[in-house]
Amino acid sequence: MKVKTILASKGMTVVAARPDQLIGEAIALLSAHNIGLLVIVDGAGKLVGVLSERDIVREAAGNEAFLSQVIEQVMTKAVITGTPQDDVRSVLQTMTDKRFRHLPIIDRGNLIGIVSIGDLVKAQLEEYEGEIDTLQSQVSKGSD
């Protein structure tokens, strides 16, 4: 299964912020959309970083004034990105190895979506459920 299968039914909305916005605003966005990561884009819409809950917690742990920091100071700039053609299983392995939980997906130079580790696990689980269900329906027919 490929990442595009997940993105196909995940809507069209990617929640993004600008690097010069404040962390306080970023937290409000994360909370309002009930998500764990913001993509950070420049004025031209180009991906320049991501800001995850972890980035914020890390900053908050050592800096009481973190709410008034700008996103650019806190975000992760070395972003690993994926494509719609990436295999779900390989991406899950990479997330586990490199300990990150969201993958921005770039298609023909454009940011088209995000898949989270939750999306990937759900897709994998549904694939297994489907296989089991198919096998069970054949086995139960066989014993009729």
């Binding site: 299968t5 039914s9 994926g82 329906s137």
Partner: protein, 471 residues
């Protein structure tokens, strides 16, 4: 306005399409306690079950037995089937909005993806989906012609559709005769001159999408040997590392099976089914008559993406493969429905977990949903459509609970029924299908076959004693 969902005012749902996803969605809707649902299911064909009838290979009867579960769903008192009724032709979106509270699109993926290489239009180059529909007796494809006097055939792709096509081309007349393949296809394939069938995969053995039972099956054919080149069965270092790390038993077993085929010596059978890896078609080359005669292939290597996936990258190394017939099987693709927002690049209805989205506002369109391949694209096995349908139905129920349904002007079942029959007098009910089913099975019994299919709408209509077509 009365909230629907009660015995006096049932929640009326139209499902467009009648394949596995449609039936799993119907099943989940009927399962709801304290909710009375009426379902009308439409199909553009007279017969239900989508790709279970028209896609699953005719020698895979056990897989087709999943329809017993669908029969139980269709047996519910609040279920009606309208076969031979096409959305966008006999009934429009506005008709459904006038007669139903919710509309669910489950039309699947009816066409194929292209390879986008020169020569794809040559004579002898076909989409595998057409060949599949043809041998399965799909009324729209019964008149297709495939030149089975060719000795060498290439099937581009290594998914289950590709391996089905390759296997069907390799079955002996005796094996074919034990299936429910369409009669004309049985005849044509029994006289086929095909000697070598090539399955061509862009990536390596560990990435092949076909599943293990299908792979095992080609090692057990009566009159064809599986052939894998030893050097292509060996894993490259990246695939080996990935497989060892993931420890996925299915992949390990698949690679072992392929390596076992690579060690086999040809068994002297009449046909060979050759699986090639790490090759991509660059071009189909034709003769003066425009008939494909060979294919140019690039040899690939695997490279790892940033996110960890292995993808194929062409090298300078090129080879030519003489073939007279080519089937491309690089994926099914959904077809846009009239007036329904569509994601063209992915070939799916624009949706969020099954809720159809408005392309401008990016918000949901009230009362419209999608499930199955038209929602997520072609992926998984039949059963994968069950969790997919449950996700969509969960959205439908949430919206219903929040009062977000359509408000049809004519919510009575009789009104919909009259309209449909007026638009399409030649409508097939589920009882009609059950009679056709019995007749097909009876015709099969006489020949020692699971069934002998009806392959045209006229033939089906006449078999029901309804006289000549008035189409």
């Amino acid at each position: 306005m009365t909230q629907p969902g009660t015995a006096s005012t049932p929640l009326r749902v139209a499902i467009v399409g009648s394949g596995p996803a449609a039936f799993y969605a119907a099943e989940h809707l009927f399962k709801q306690l304290n909710l009375v649902v009426e379902i009308d299911m439409f199909d553009r064909l007279p017969t239900p079950y989508g790709l279970v009838r028209g896609g699953v290979a005719p020698d895979h009867q056990k897989i087709k037995s999943v329809t017993h579960a669908y029969e139980k769903i269709a047996d519910r008192p609040h279920f009606r089937f309208y076969g031979n009724v096409e959305f966008g032709k006999h009934i429009q979106l506005s008709d459904l909005r006038d007669h139903y509270h919710q509309i669910l699109y489950a039309t699947g993926a009816q066409t194929d993806r292209r390879m986008n290489i020169p020569g794809e239009e040559l004579k002898g180059s076909h989409p595998a989906t057409e060949f599949v529909a043809w041998y399965n007796g799909h009324p729209d494809f019964r008149d297709c012609h495939f030149d089975l006097s060719q000795e060498r055939v290439a099937v581009v792709g290594v998914g289950n559709v590709a391996i089905d096509v390759a296997r069907l081309l390799c079955l002996s007349p005796r094996e074919l005769a034990a299936t429910d393949i369409a009669n004309y296809a049985l005849d044509a394939l029994s006289h086929s001159k095909v000697k070598e069938v090539y399955l061509l995969g862009r990536r390596g053995p560990a990435q092949a999408a076909f599943t293990n039972p299908e792979l095992k099956e080609i090692g057990e054919l009566e009159d064809a040997d599986p052939v894998v080149l030893p050097e292509e069965a060996e894993l490259d270092p990246l695939s080996r590392a990935e497989m060892e790390k993931e420890g996925d038993r299915t992949t390990i077993r698949k690679v072992e099976l392929l390596q076992e085929y690579a060690r086999r010596t040809a068994g002297g059978k009449s046909r060979q089914l050759l699986i090639r890896f790490l090759v991509s078609p660059l071009e189909l080359i034709g003769d003066e008559a425009g008939q494909v005669v060979k294919m140019r292939l690039a040899k690939n290597v695997l490279v790892q993406s940033e996110a960890g996936s292995l993808s194929a990258k062409a090298t300078d190394q090129v080879e030519e493969l003489p073939v007279g017939l080519v089937f491309r099987s690089v994926g099914y693709r959904g077809v846009a429905l009239p007036e329904v927002p569509f994601h063209d690049r992915w070939g799916v209805v624009l949706n969020d977990r099954g809720r159809v989205l408005d392309p401008d506002s990016k918000g949901p369109r009230i009362g419209e949903y999608a499930t199955g391949w038209i929602k997520r694209g072609p992926s998984g096995v039949i059963g994968t459509n069950k969790p997919d349908a449950v996700e969509t139905v969960t959205c439908m129920l949430e919206d219903f609970a929040n009062g977000l349904t359509l408000h049809p002007a004519h919510p009575a079942g009789e009104a919909a029924d009259s309209l449909i029959r007026e638009r399409q007098p030649q409508t097939f009910s589920f009882a009609d299908w059950q009679r056709l089913d019995e007749m097909e099975v009876a015709r099969g019994e006489a020949q020692g076959r699971p069934r002998v299919k009806f392959v045209s709408v006229e033939e089906m209509w006449a078999a029901l004693g309804r006289g000549a077509s008035n189409k």
